[in-house]
Symmetry: C2
Subunit: 260 residues, 2 copies
């Protein structure tokens, strides 16, 4: 009994020591089955670097999330930090939008991407180990056909505010119009995405085009129609590269997949 | 004695419970003076979001690091994660550079920024509360005059490899040539930055120009001379925006200051 107590106290002291070290060094010990696991700690640090690399567009053309980052990405997407990151971005977007003087001629435009900018595919990707499994086009199509995406946190509020401010909001997506037009529209409406100017989807003419080419083409055409693109928001860097980018772009986090 | 033991055991159980919750939710309880401090936890989460916002160029034009993020930024810069992030980026850069077929005509160019891309100002910024204090031009100039910057971790190795591969490396910096030319050159040489093609600094002609204008002008001129810019590496988004950007850009982390 007494030796068990001593053992317990020793554990408390070790825990306290590590907690203090953690506070001082910023390196967080993680308590896992079997005690403190340094390899896990190193993996966590690696995955933080990898995710930063993805979000800053330093890591490109990746096909799957590194398997060792499954827990890290799951924690990020479902543990609260993803939502917090989105909230801060939406604050930045609205701060910028508030400072724009709209001309009133109905040509002040704003562009939003759809997948994982407005519509969340988190539930689908949960079944694909948060992107550790490779891209599965038939399965994703079957998911998108269902039209049951939830809204990306903070996105619906952002959308409504942009429309209320008087921006003409264009939703531009690489989704195929012929097969996914109806479920996508219904999904958006069911979530309260009403009052956008146009939902522009990929048609037969755009088949096989990379995202940068397709989306640049659409934006150029909008500018050709006289629209001034003030903002452009997407979860993929390919939404935010190319031509006619708009006055300012905003990158929404997405560590689960990369669209070339 | 017995009640103290019970109290201790209760503490252990609370600690274990929180550790398990932490593992499941990804929200890490931080042990601080007086016990678990939820406000600190929230601050940590906010600062993670803010730093991601800065690194992804969603947060722009900021003058100081939010005071509540002092500890977070200090931990990030000095606790190991900054170095890890740099290592991963350098891996990505070298992976990309390895795939480039150099023409052998001596016109394959690479651009590196200087401050906090090659030369580290971390020691200076430690005295400025890691960027929580506002920009102080005379103090920074006095620091730069000393020529005692250390090398950014991994940067010197990257530099040497690029030169060895046959790239003409151009160092482009907003530092003033007249006053900082000598100490900057000496500082670079002392740290092993030898064999670059040119160190291009701000001259009287560029005075008052923003970084995007100044650096775009330099890059355009290099392209005019026939150089092909394969890579462009900087810690500021203003290094990586504008014209003649190069075939690929890489963002080095810097949560301490923003150059407009």
């Amino acid at each position: 009994m007494f030796s068990a107590m001593v053992q317990r106290i020793r554990e408390v002291l070790v825990f306290l020591f590590l907690a203090i070290v953690s506070k001082v060094t910023g390196v967080k010990p993680i308590f896992s089955r079997g005690g403190f696991s340094l390899p896990f700690e190193e993996e966590e640090a690696y995955c933080l670097s990898w995710r930063l690399g993805v979000e800053t567009n330093n890591v490109r053309g990746w096909r799957t999330v590194p398997s060792k980052c499954l827990c890290h990405i799951e924690n990020y997407m479902t543990g609260g930090q993803y939502e917090r990151d989105l909230e801060l971005i939406v604050e930045q977007i609205l701060g910028y939008a508030d400072g724009i003087f709209l001309s009133g001629d109905g040509l002040d435009a704003w562009i939003l991407d759809v997948d994982d900018t407005c519509l969340s595919n988190l539930l689908y990707y949960r079944g694909k180990r948060y992107g550790c499994d490779p891209y599965d086009p038939p399965a994703f199509k079957a998911w998108a056909m269902k039209g049951v995406c939830t809204a990306v946190p903070a996105a619906q509020g952002l959308f409504v505010k942009l429309v209320d401010m008087g921006f003409k909001v264009f939703l531009i997506t690489g989704r195929d119009e012929e097969t996914l037009g109806k479920p996508t529209t219904e999904n958006l409406h069911n979530l309260g995405f009403f009052g956008y100017e146009r939902l522009i989807m990929r048609t037969k003419a755009n088949k096989g085009q990379g995202a940068v080419i397709f989306k640049s083409g659409v934006r150029k055409q909008l500018e050709g129609e006289g629209y001034r693109i003030w903002g452009n928001v997407g979860d993929q860097w390919t939404d935010l590269q190319g031509e006619s980018l708009g006055n300012r772009t905003f990158k929404i986090p997405n560590p689960m997949y990369f669209v070339p």
